[in-house]
């Protein structure tokens, strides 16, 4: 067991699947000699050779075409889209093709592709680098969408994603890459692809979040605890599908819930979670469902992003409002 950053944990997971499964391939822009623009694939080309870890020409739709064609010839592709904003260039490949192909063949062919892509605000990147675009993908049947909020889950989830025979979009949070360290086992282990996790137990109110907002929710929970408000924090981990069982069990205990996301408030993950709760658990609630989300503008230019991204103060304020309802 070693203390590891989120990004090192992902690299460790990739290293282990490359070692265990000779049919796995990592490819994308700058992933080879450079080890990725964030060094997520650092040293992997040296270790496994250019045949297994290789650079592509600069074209995201082409990268998805490679992934689908390689699946058809028996490979287990792990393409990287350098920033999530660039997935728009691969929208047909991901949504129009990859997610539908298993279905189109009546289940006879598998497309075990894991698309890794960094996203998330707060690091003052150029435009189209930080957007939370998960809402476009969670409405796609056939595609799983997961995103870890800590180094332990990062390694276990990336291994599960790659070993899954379903296509998985694996979202890596830019701000978390090097800002947190955890105990991460050296051995290979998996984290289930479709399960949320209670990351802090509480009895008075449930805070449902994912990715970097989990840390904001934990900070808010600390502040609420000072006033003897016991908040339970749930990390969704999987955005498609949503593990409603874990959320509902918590609501049965707390009877109050706030749903949190960094993405804009308009149709998306938080809206789905809130509507599921409204449909199945409204009789267990004794206050309205609270929501915390970014406002419905285009992702802001970098200098304003910290005013735009929901933080622990926003979560704390909403939690107090719902708690005191």
């Amino acid at each position: 067991m070693a203390k590891m950053t989120y990004i090192k944990a992902i690299t460790s997971g990739l290293d282990q699947v490359l070692a265990d499964d000779p049919k796995t391939l990592i490819f994308g822009e700058d992933v080879g000699k450079n080890g990725g623009v964030f060094r997520t694939t650092v040293d992997l080309q040296d270790k496994y050779g250019e045949d297994r870890v290789f650079d592509t020409p600069l074209a995201e739709s082409g990268i998805l075409g490679l992934a689908i064609g390689l699946s058809l010839t028996g490979w287990r592709p792990i393409p990287e889209i350098q920033f999530m904003g660039f997935t728009f260039e691969a929208m047909d490949g991901i949504v129009g093709q990859l997610a539908r192909d298993h279905y189109r063949f009546g289940g006879q062919k598998n497309f075990p592709v894991t698309i890794r892509t960094p996203f998330g605000g707060g690091t003052h990147t150029a435009e189209m680098h930080a957007d939370n675009l998960e809402n476009y993908f969670v409405s796609t049947p056939g595609l799983r969408v997961v995103t870890p909020a800590n180094p332990y889950d990062a390694k276990g989830l990336v291994i599960s994603a790659i070993e899954s025979d379903d296509p998985v979009l694996f979202m890596e949070n830019l701000k978390l890459y090097r800002s947190m360290k955890d105990e991460v086992p050296d051995d290979k282990y998996t984290v289930p692809l479709d399960s949320a996790k209670v990351v802090r137990e509480g009895t008075d109110i449930t805070l449902v979040a994912y990715s970097a907002e989990v840390n904001e929710a934990l900070t808010a929970a600390d502040a609420l605890a000072k006033d003897n408000i016991s908040a339970e924090v749930i990390d969704l981990r999987s955005l498609s599908p949503i593990d409603t069982d874990t959320i509902y069990a918590s609501i049965d205990k707390t009877h109050k819930v706030v749903v949190i996301q960094e993405a804009q408030r308009m149709a998306g993950v938080g809206a789905v979670v809130a509507s599921d709760i409204a449909e199945d658990k409204i009789m267990s609630l004794d206050a309205p469902i609270g929501r915390v989300a970014a406002p419905d503008s285009v992702y802001p230019f970098a200098q304003a992003e910290n005013d735009w991204i929901p933080n622990s103060d926003d979560i704390e304020a909403k939690a107090r409002e719902i708690f005191n309802y």
């Binding site: 082409g62 064609g69 058809l72 010839t73 490979w75 047909d92 279905y103 289940g107």
Partner: protein, 371 residues
């Protein structure tokens, strides 16, 4: 620049001559049925030539029978193929069973030749999943998004290369409009960057629904587009089955030998509508334009060559047409007998491991379906 001084780059000359290497379509039998390349024709036995003719008669009959079925409301989406028999049959017959075919929606005849059944082709048109389950696994389904099959070809070709498969290539089709897609360039360029084995066909049939070839690009030929990706390319008379086959065979050998991909532009013509769903070519093109293409028909010119050789007769052809019609009618019966599809099955195929929500929906639909 002062008036009259010499320019250091002659852009006008570059523009006027850049297509020169590409605008000499390979031809063995010309539009009048005259053999213009007897040496190449001599490479083919009488049996092979008769087989080419049979395949074109088969495709033309398939087209006519399919149009009948469409008019009777027994099919869904269908893209007519009349006029493109030499391009389609000449090319597909140059490939081997282990080669991987990535077809577009006008390529059902090549799929059937490569290892699926006519009944499955009809099932695809009717929107039945069994239409995508082929006897030969080395095949994608007909791609609807124009260009997607080109980027996927790069992956298949790279996979073949990484598997170390010898004597195996990917081959793919699109039309003239398809070359305007970004995916067209990405597919050819990726394959070239990895020097992976693929043959890219552009069946230039003159029309992308109602938009003529000349409005797609100012490039004089579509073949020349390949040079930008470092890929050799050629135009071929797409109404001449021997020329198409010979070029396709040489391209396959070149690619399979590890030399990287090839682009082939076949010059052909879509006799009919874009699809069976209401397109009317008289809205956008004239009879005067159509006539020379109809006169250059691939069956007419092959019929002449074979008749001159004394190895083909109209009686023989008429009998074949009847045989093929019966075959297609049987295939339609087979397609119509396929079990009805169930929403619960579609839900089961959405993921390998159904999600909790999908599991619930499977149970709901199974309950409905058992009533």
């Amino acid at each position: 620049m002062a008036n009259g001084s010499k320019q250091i780059v002659d852009f006008a000359k570059i523009k006027a001559t850049m297509a020169d290497p590409y605008k000499h379509p390979v031809q063995v039998i010309n539009g009048d049925g005259k053999v213009v390349d007897p040496d190449t024709l001599a490479k083919y036995s009488d049996d092979q030539l008769v087989d080419f003719m049979k395949k074109m008669v088969w495709e033309r009959t398939l087209h006519e029978q399919t149009m009948n079925f469409s008019r009777q409301g027994r099919l869904g989406f269908y893209a007519p193929t009349a006029g493109e028999e030499a391009s389609e049959m000449g090319s597909v017959t140059a490939f081997k069973e282990q080669d991987f075919l990535l077809p577009a929606y006008r390529d059902l005849p090549q799929m059937i030749q490569h290892g699926t059944t006519v009944a499955k082709g009809f099932l695809w048109s009717k929107g039945h999943v069994e239409g995508n389950q082929h006897e030969n696994p080395n095949m994608m389904f007909p791609q609807i998004i124009i260009g997607a099959q080109y980027v996927e070809t790069a992956g298949v070709a790279l996979g073949i290369q990484k598997n170390g498969d010898k004597d195996r290539v990917a081959f793919v089709y699109t039309g003239d409009g398809g070359t305007s897609q970004g995916d067209w360039y990405e597919g050819v360029n990726f394959t070239s960057a990895y020097q992976a084995p693929a043959v890219f066909f552009v069946q230039n049939n003159g029309w992308a629904i109602s938009v003529p070839r000349k409005k797609q690009t100012a490039a004089e030929t579509l073949a020349q587009k390949a040079v930008a990706m470092g890929v050799p390319s050629v135009q071929v008379d797409g109404m001449d089955i021997v020329a198409v086959h010979e070029v396709a065979k040489e391209a396959r050998e070149f690619a399979a030998a590890g030399n990287g991909p090839v682009v082939i532009e076949t010059l052909t013509y879509r006799y009919g509508a874009h699809s069976s769903a209401g397109d009317d070519p008289s809205r956008y093109r004239t009879k005067e334009e159509e006539k020379p293409w109809f006169d250059a028909d691939p069956l007419i010119r092959m019929r002449k060559v074979l008749t001159d050789k004394g190895i083909w007769s109209q009686d023989q052809e008429d009998k074949l047409v009847e045989e093929y019609k019966d075959e297609f009618k049987d295939a339609m019966k087979e397609a119509e007998a396929a079990p009805a599809q169930k929403v619960s099955d579609f839900l089961k195929w959405t993921y390998n491991v159904p999600t909790p929500a999908v599991k619930k929906q499977i149970a709901e639909f199974e309950a409905k379906e058992s009533k």
